[in-house]
């Protein structure tokens, strides 16, 4: 079965208003192109899930796509604040944003439980912090064998998980190498999975620290070269640190942010035109 489809079609069909969506990536391979497609298609009332919501979550939140965010660290790595994320939490702009906040260990284990079809995961953490007071999805549990008091967190099962990878074949097997983060667990925990890739290939070559997500776990493969920019795709292009720094200025004021989104996301066809419109298409040359 050929799973290669157009990104617009995949997002249009699978990402419905009101569902929960995880666009995962731990600094590496962030599915930026898919987030832009969600914004362009005007998706609303989403519950967004991500360990490290970054620029694309700032964009989706600022464009009013999200009602709720489940996360563990929301910042612009090495730069500072996510201004749209902060504006939504501090001032309810453009709409109030409900938050469900965990630690990385909590989120990682929630995905593991989700991928394992278990109702919850157990970890040694959270005790003594203020997180259990503000987050309902953290609760104490006692080990039935040793009596040790531990913390439980419920499984995360996103309606749709979207990840970006280096390569896929037409059947939908997906090859990811370098830092693979939480992508495998996020994909296996989800009802449906969209994978954008740098390229569709006939056959995978072995790479250091490579994992392969088998096709049975994947619903749609979309070829989007450069689709992780301004994050990086190991073996294809480096992280554009300068863009992360520039985002601080672009996103600080509501008006400037909206104008930028209008010009570079809403008014363009697809991610290739977005990259052209921000005049960085040369970066993406493989």
């Amino acid at each position: 079965m050929d799973k290669v489809v157009d990104l617009r079609e995949a997002v249009g069909e699978l990402v419905r208003d009101g569902i929960s969506v995880a666009l995962e990536g731990f600094t590496h391979l962030i599915p930026s192109a898919a987030a832009h497609e969600i914004i362009r298609q005007g998706k609303r009332h989403l519950t967004l899930i991500r360990m490290t919501p970054d620029l694309i979550y700032d964009q989706m939140i600022g464009m009013g796509c999200a009602d709720k965010l489940i996360f563990s660290w929301g910042g612009n790595p090495g730069v500072g604040s996510l201004h749209r994320f902060r504006d939504a939490i501090e001032n309810g702009w453009p709409r109030p944003l409900e938050i469900e906040e965990h630690s990385h260990a909590g989120m990682a284990n929630r995905y593991v439980a989700g991928a394992s079809n278990l109702p919850f995961a157990v970890l040694r953490g959270y005790v003594g912090t203020d997180l259990p007071e503000v987050t309902e999805t953290i609760a104490p549990v006692r080990c039935p064998f040793t009596g040790e008091q531990l913390m439980a967190v419920p499984a995360l099962n996103p309606d749709v998980t979207i990840i970006h990878a280096q390569q896929a074949d037409r059947k939908g097997n997906v090859a990811i190498w370098g830092i693979t983060g939480i992508q495998k667990e996020a994909a296996l925990a989800a009802e449906r999975v969209i994978v954008t890739v740098e390229e569709v290939v006939e056959k995978f070559e072995p790479k250091p620290f490579q994992i392969v997500l088998p096709s049975v776990a994947v619903d749609a493969v979309c070829a989007v070269p450069g689709g992780a920019y301004p994050s990086y795709a190991h073996g294809y292009y480096p992280r554009d640190n300068t863009f992360y720094e520039e985002w601080d200025g672009i996103s600080r004021e509501r008006e400037k942010f909206l104008q930028w989104m209008e010009r570079h996301v809403l008014e363009v066809e697809d991610y290739a035109s977005h990259l052209k419109s921000i005049r960085k298409e040369e970066v993406i040359k493989a």
Binding site: S72, G74, R124, V127, Y237, E282
Partner: protein
């Protein structure tokens, strides 16, 4: 001896805390700078672990983010995020956790979540990330932050990561394997917990800094050790290596992502 800045003194003092061969869980920013300085000077055998999954990372330039390609490129291994937190951190394989924070209190508890009320925050900070479990499970924790009155507060707005909780034996009651903070390194000096009360005590001043300077930037009545020491100023090699590392990082950052093949 060339002059040095307070920030350089802080990084060098923090680097000196790491013994050769130590397995160190490294946060991004100041801790990453200090850990890599240690690796490039007196602790070449230090194993740096980053929460993105890189174990035994040997970055030539300092990563801007916790998952930069630089970390995977020269690592002993790269594992998934659940493995890092479960098999490495929670399992007790980390000797030292190296953390930063927005706020710290007298018992070394840390806040990286929010300034003001949680539901109606004055400033929403990024949040917990990996810090709560690093603070819980690393055998020892070293905290690094600039010494400012707004950071060294009488009462945290939010406890994101536990230090010595309310002092004394109170941390023990939480059931965590790690010993908690053993040192807080700032740009003014070094604080260590009192062996009994666990209250942070000023044990060393960096050269040219007075106790009054530190008290002025501390939001509680500071305890000062009877054996207050003065930090050894940066050695030439320490300064050279630190500056080289930062210069390489700066040069690479300017070029990264804009270079075409």
């Amino acid at each position: 001896m060339s002059a040095y800045t307070a920030d350089e003194m802080m990084s060098i003092a923090a680097a000196r805390e790491l013994k050769d061969g130590v397995v160190c869980f490294v946060g991004i920013g100041l801790p990453s700078e200090a850990a890599n300085l240690a690796r490039k000077t007196h602790a070449p055998g230090a194993i740096l672990v980053y929460e993105s999954g890189a174990i035994g990372a040997r970055p030539e330039v300092l990563p801007l983010s916790i998952g930069d390609g630089e970390l995977a490129e020269y690592a002993d291994s790269v594992v998934s995020v659940p493995e890092i937190f479960n098999y490495w951190l929670q399992a007790g394989r980390i000797d030292v956790g190296f953390l930063g924070a927005a706020q710290i209190d007298r018992y070394g508890n840390l806040n990286t979540t929010v300034i003001g009320d949680y539901r109606t925050p004055k400033v929403r900070l990024p949040g917990a990330g990996g810090a709560p479990e690093i603070a819980a499970s690393a055998k020892e924790v070293i905290v690094m932050l600039r010494h400012k009155r707004r950071a060294f507060v009488e009462r945290l707005d939010f406890i994101t990561s536990v230090g010595h909780l309310e002092g004394g034996e109170s941390r023990k009651g939480l059931g965590y394997p790690g010993a908690g903070p053993v040192a807080v390194i700032t740009d003014l000096g070094v604080l260590r917990p009192d062996p009994e009360s666990r209250e942070l005590t000023l044990t060393a001043l960096h050269p040219g800094v007075s106790v009054d300077d530190v008290q002025r930037e501390t939001g509680w009545k500071l305890r000062v050790s009877e054996d207050l020491e003065t930090t050894e100023p940066p050695a030439r090699e320490e300064l050279e290596v630190l500056r080289e590392l930062k210069a390489r990082t700066e040069a690479s950052r300017k070029g990264a992502g804009r270079i075409t093949g």
